[in-house]
Amino acid sequence: MIEARRISKFFSIINDDGTAGGITAVLSVSLRIEDGRFVSLLGPTGCGKSTFLEILAGLQAPSDGEVVIDGQRVLEPLPSTRQEMEDYRRRYRFLSPIANSLFRDRPKHDIAMIFQDYAVFPWMTTLQNVLFCIKLRGVPKADRDLMARKYLHLVGLSGSEHKYPSQLSGGMRQRLALARALSVEPKIILMDEPFAAVDAHTREGLQEDLLQLWERTGKTIVLVTHDVDEAAYLSDEIVVFSPLPGTVRNRIEVDVPRPRRRTHPALRTIRERIQSIYRYDSDQMAECII
């Protein structure tokens, strides 16, 4: 179970005129995601939902609040007072808090993450990419090869084991990222706009594959997306983020039985509801500006 308690994230920036300013990327987001659910975080681009996902994964420390995964805190929030800041600096002057450890490969949590632009290592072949991730989990050497090939087969990449990512198409690279995430057999998979960079046809195929894999393996999936159709079609629950600062605008349960049709009337209703929320928001904002 993932539990996010009042997560906020501030960034300090430097404005065009040279003055210092701040951006609130995420403002007081509380969220509880039960095991085995498929939850989408939906919002317009640049609304802080990717930042929120990185905080969930422990790749960024929240400015305030905490994330608890299965009863274990992910990262401590950043200090707020000067005294605390100095302590924090002293404690982490050698290794940053997001680093795992110096020599021992040990994941902090049982999660895997898929990034928007794949982030598969271009200097490793397909097979080596998967093997690398399995090795980090401490799987004995004898089993690694079999596991890697099994998951490559699962996503339909068998036959390209010795190709480098630069020789693969965008959709295949995304499949490789998926295989990498699945191969470590995590309980939770976080996905940051995984299908944004592939064409519409490939995207639908990948969505079907993802659903099948999810139903077969029963993992918790948190999907960040800006695509209303994708969120409605795939997820059990949609968390709608408002534009900057990112807060939870609405939560929508999708009670459509699976397998779903993309043209199901209930899905259309949900889409229209979300679109009307956005329309309302943009109208309100327009009035504010006028």
């Binding site: 790749l59 680093a99 980090l136």
Partner: protein, 281 residues
């Protein structure tokens, strides 16, 4: 079927056979990089011009030796003046200095690029020291280490150290945070990150730095041999100046050019072998 077995059955080569095969591939690549029909149409007229102009007296033959006389002098030096000895001596100095530079500069560069703590503590030192042109170190080195092998090795080391250091540092520092994040999520320790992510991402710039290091190392080799010692190609150059023997100078210069070209070809080959994944781009 594991990976190494697959490799062996693919290529069917091991031991001497493998070495022979790699050498053949290397020399083929190296020779082909210079010899081509297009380049021959430039090179052959140039050589003919070089041969003809001094012979016809358009340029003074005392100042410009013809290629044929250069080849004759090369043979003479080889047989009578112990060219091989000087060459070996130069290469020993160069490779010792370069090796020391690489095994120190590369780890320091990786550490500086990897960790803020190291960077803050050591980078300013190198930034202050690096702008000093390496030849400016010659007098103080001669005073401190005397004339001879240690001084020459140290000067080559100085020439090669900073390019390798700064290029490694830049390459490691510029590692794409996406790759780091994706490895960290899966639980990679910092050491694993260095071994499997940072170094590979920096490979291109490390090789670039090594090439620059070779070039500046050669410069420092010649300077150090000119100023101290009675051996090496640089010494031969100075000596032939004393005797006003232009043929020998040209032989030395050609040899140096050949050494530089050969080392760069080796680097290209190493790059080809290590960075297979870049070829598809």
């Amino acid at each position: 079927m594991s990976e190494p077995n697959g490799r062996q059955s693919d290529y069917g080569a091991r031991g001497w056979n493998l070495i022979y095969r790699e050498l053949a591939a290397f020399s083929k690549g190296a020779v082909l990089s210079v010899i081509s029909i297009e380049f021959a149409t430039v090179l052959v007229p140039l050589l003919i011009l070089w041969e003809v102009l001094p012979r016809t007296g358009v340029v003074p033959p005392t100042l410009v030796p013809t290629p044929s006389s250069v080849i004759v002098t090369f043979w003479q030096m080889l047989v009578e003046h112990g060219l091989v000895y000087h060459l070996c001596r130069s290469l020993t100095v160069f490779f010792s200095g370069f090796f020391i530079a690489f095994v120190t500069a590369f780890p320091i560069g990786v550490l500086m690029g990897w960790n803020m703590f190291f960077r803050k503590h050591s980078l300013p030192l190198f930034q202050i020291l690096a702008p000093v042109p390496p030849p400016a170190w010659v007098p103080i080195t001669i005073v401190a280490l005397g004339v001879g092998l240690p001084m020459q090795v140290f000067l080559v080391f100085l020439g090669a150290f900073y390019p390798i250091l700064f290029n490694t540092y830049q390459g490691v520092k510029d590692t794409d945070p996406r790759y780091l994040a994706s490895a960290r999520v899966f639980g990679a320790s910092e050491f694993t990150l260095i071994r499997h992510v940072y170094i590979w991402h920096a490979l291109g710039s490390v090789i670039m730095g090594t090439k620059i290091g070779i070039a500046i190392g050669l410069v420092m080799l010649i300077i150090s041999e000119m100023y101290g010692g009675r051996t090496g190609i640089g010494f031969l150059l100075v000596e032939s100046k004393e005797y006003f023997n232009i043929d020998r100078m040209v032989v030395c210069m050609v040899i140096l050019g050949f050494i530089g070209w050969f080392l760069i070809e080796i680097m290209k080959y190493i790059e080809l072998k290590l960075a297979v994944w870049r070829i598809g781009r």
